[in-house]
Symmetry: C2
Subunit: 477 residues, 2 copies
Amino acid sequence: MYKQLILLSLIIVGYSCNLKQEKAINKTTQPLEEKIDSANIKTFFNTALTTGKSYEWLRDLTQNIGGRLSGSPEAAKAVVWGKNLMNEVGLDSVWLQPVMVPHWVRGQKEIANYTINGVKKNVPICALGFSVATPNTGITAPVIEVKSIEEAKALGTKLKGKIVFFNRPFDDALINTFKAYGGCVDQRVQGAAVCAPFGAKGVIVRSMTNSIDDYPHTGTMSYGNLPLEQQIPGAAISSRAANILSNDLKENPNLKFFFKQNCKTLPDAPSYNVVGEIKGTETPENIFVVGGHLDSWDLGEGAHDDGAGIVQSLEVAYLFKKNNIKPKNTIRIVFFMNEENGTRGAKKYAELAKINNENHIGGLESDAGGHTPRGFSIDANTANTKLLKSWKKLLAPYGLHDIDKGGSGADISPLKAEQVTLVGYRPDSQRYFDYHHTSIDTFDKVNKRELELGSASMASIVYLMDKYLYTNTVIKP
Amino acid sequence: MYKQLILLSLIIVGYSCNLKQEKAINKTTQPLEEKIDSANIKTFFNTALTTGKSYEWLRDLTQNIGGRLSGSPEAAKAVVWGKNLMNEVGLDSVWLQPVMVPHWVRGQKEIANYTINGVKKNVPICALGFSVATPNTGITAPVIEVKSIEEAKALGTKLKGKIVFFNRPFDDALINTFKAYGGCVDQRVQGAAVCAPFGAKGVIVRSMTNSIDDYPHTGTMSYGNLPLEQQIPGAAISSRAANILSNDLKENPNLKFFFKQNCKTLPDAPSYNVVGEIKGTETPENIFVVGGHLDSWDLGEGAHDDGAGIVQSLEVAYLFKKNNIKPKNTIRIVFFMNEENGTRGAKKYAELAKINNENHIGGLESDAGGHTPRGFSIDANTANTKLLKSWKKLLAPYGLHDIDKGGSGADISPLKAEQVTLVGYRPDSQRYFDYHHTSIDTFDKVNKRELELGSASMASIVYLMDKYLYTNTVIKP
């Protein structure tokens, strides 16, 4: 009976929620309100494109600090940089959230080569994150080429003593390159863990890109529960070198591949999420998170991944403040640490939110590069998903057409709950994997206007969500 | 009475047209037909992204021929290149249309500088197309800065003996950069013609770009009816140099600016439009043109402007042939000559179409760069505009959302008529004016996938137009 009462009251609460939602939907379609919203959105874009700060912030982060892998001195510098910048923008409060992060270091530059027809070919490779080193003398072994984890597993003990070459390319026919990435990245993440138990000596993985070029793409891998003594080194090989090697293997299946890398995992290191907020005017206890990740891979400058997301997130706050638009809920800007190899920052943030009994109503993450805006991906309940889609008309003039159900981002997804609306910013994806996790993810690859349009796109949807989102205040205990 | 009869018959024809149009619209919404169309569009994209040729064609054109201003040896080479390539793709017939084109040459590299506070500053400039040279010793004169043609006119005889510095920048708040270009380009085109009669010695014009950089942007200018002896030289100055000069003029309004250029206009030269076609299977007398312009400015490689449009146009034919999709109307690929400074090729093409009594039902032009697709701009009658907009659902999965009324392009617009549907391909505009008419409009600025997506976008709309367009056959005499 008690249970039934609770059920009944939940149904009633749900019903009143729905009523409230209907009102809110009507509100958004009122012409006057729409006019105000439209004008405020226009203001965000005008401000970002004419007096925006994100581009110069990004120049500073990428060119004066550079690549900033978790645990590195550069990551530590980036934390200080981020905290100072948040204060400079004038957020109401700024603080650091301590978090222990993995500390993997690449060591000396990797070497790889093989000889065919008397010609020695040097191969551009780089160690994958968390990989162990090769012995000091490197590894020299015959190569066995596979196109999938399943193919490797099926070969079983035939992998013994071999270097396993994972060479399934991106599916170029997929319009969204993130889908192509999703269809290939298992090779990088699981390759070594799958092959090691069969006695393979190492794995080399085709770089995760549509492009045919000479830049190896690093990225995280995992040994799962494999004990240290069974772990074998994993490296990425550039896409062009992968094509050449594949051809050369057809000519000489017995060629011997050599590679040497010196990476290692040190003990966990102390680091921080950088957090700042604009206090809400009406319901400050409701928190909306906007963020990206402050760490990056070590090879380039972490410009698109994810310097862009960092400076855009802070520019959201700047655009609110500069235009004196006061959110009714608290807007919290978070520079998450350690997205690339561990997402420890994200986990810590969600853990603290729970411990502190914080009420998160939603989040927006920018971690898909600084290219021209396309839309948003929504991970929310039906009512809020519908609500966000109803803003298409307001957002279309800015190229924001793709407003669809989908994932949000690695750093905010630990906040997922029925009443929490999570959104991923989605810029155009075509060029992203040309740079992703390489030495050429540098400041010059980011276009000022595209970056600024992204900031304004994010500010616009945060503004609308702050104003209209159906929050969980009604059903809070 | 006779007139009334004609009117009545036109109304009846119009009515039957409408009926026919209704049927066609119903046809497009039939699920089976939509399924076929959707599958064919998917095929175009798959083919372009996996076995497309446009990128390698563009590499060849830009890197082995390079910049190809009308009348230059490179433009002549490009004509041969284009004809051979059309034959290679296997068009049913390929021919050249002779056309006389302006022949302006830049001569030796331009020089500009001034001295302020004892420091000599070199200034990146380039002559504007059709400009006359300075005297051999250059021009040295005080500078008067203006923001508009109107301001220059109002100054009148105060311009005498001066170099007029047109310095109105792009409006960065405009989302579409072509609008910002449209709001500034009068300074480049008319500046010299307006100032010369007041005794100005020359004009320097801020480069047409959103970007702040060191690359002067050339482009065409016109002296109107000004006699040769009154013509004064015009040059573009880089945006960064324009900002610096403007500041320096505040400090020293009397500083003397020096510039020297050696350009001249030679007698008109013979050249060609390159034309090839796939014959229609049902109504071959109906012609649909797809094209871009083969000429480019001389400073860079003419990669985005308009090598991209050339290779995409030909790839439309390739995608039809490769997939054995036979158009019912004739699809004619045209590489127009001389869009940049005269549009003589476009005029010649339209003139010959009229002389030969050809029945053009429409055209599609790609001359807005090779960036990621956004949509199409439609210059057509109401029925066909509505028809094209009805395909939004089919095209949206490929990022083609902006399907709106607007201009088409300089090379096909001379074909404009009530029953001719003209369409401009519209890629994303954010980066275009970073490169437009500069030394950095080079192959490396074009992304392979973005270029290919453009080819497939164009093929898709040509396919739909070939199939469904309301043509003028009914009301032909």
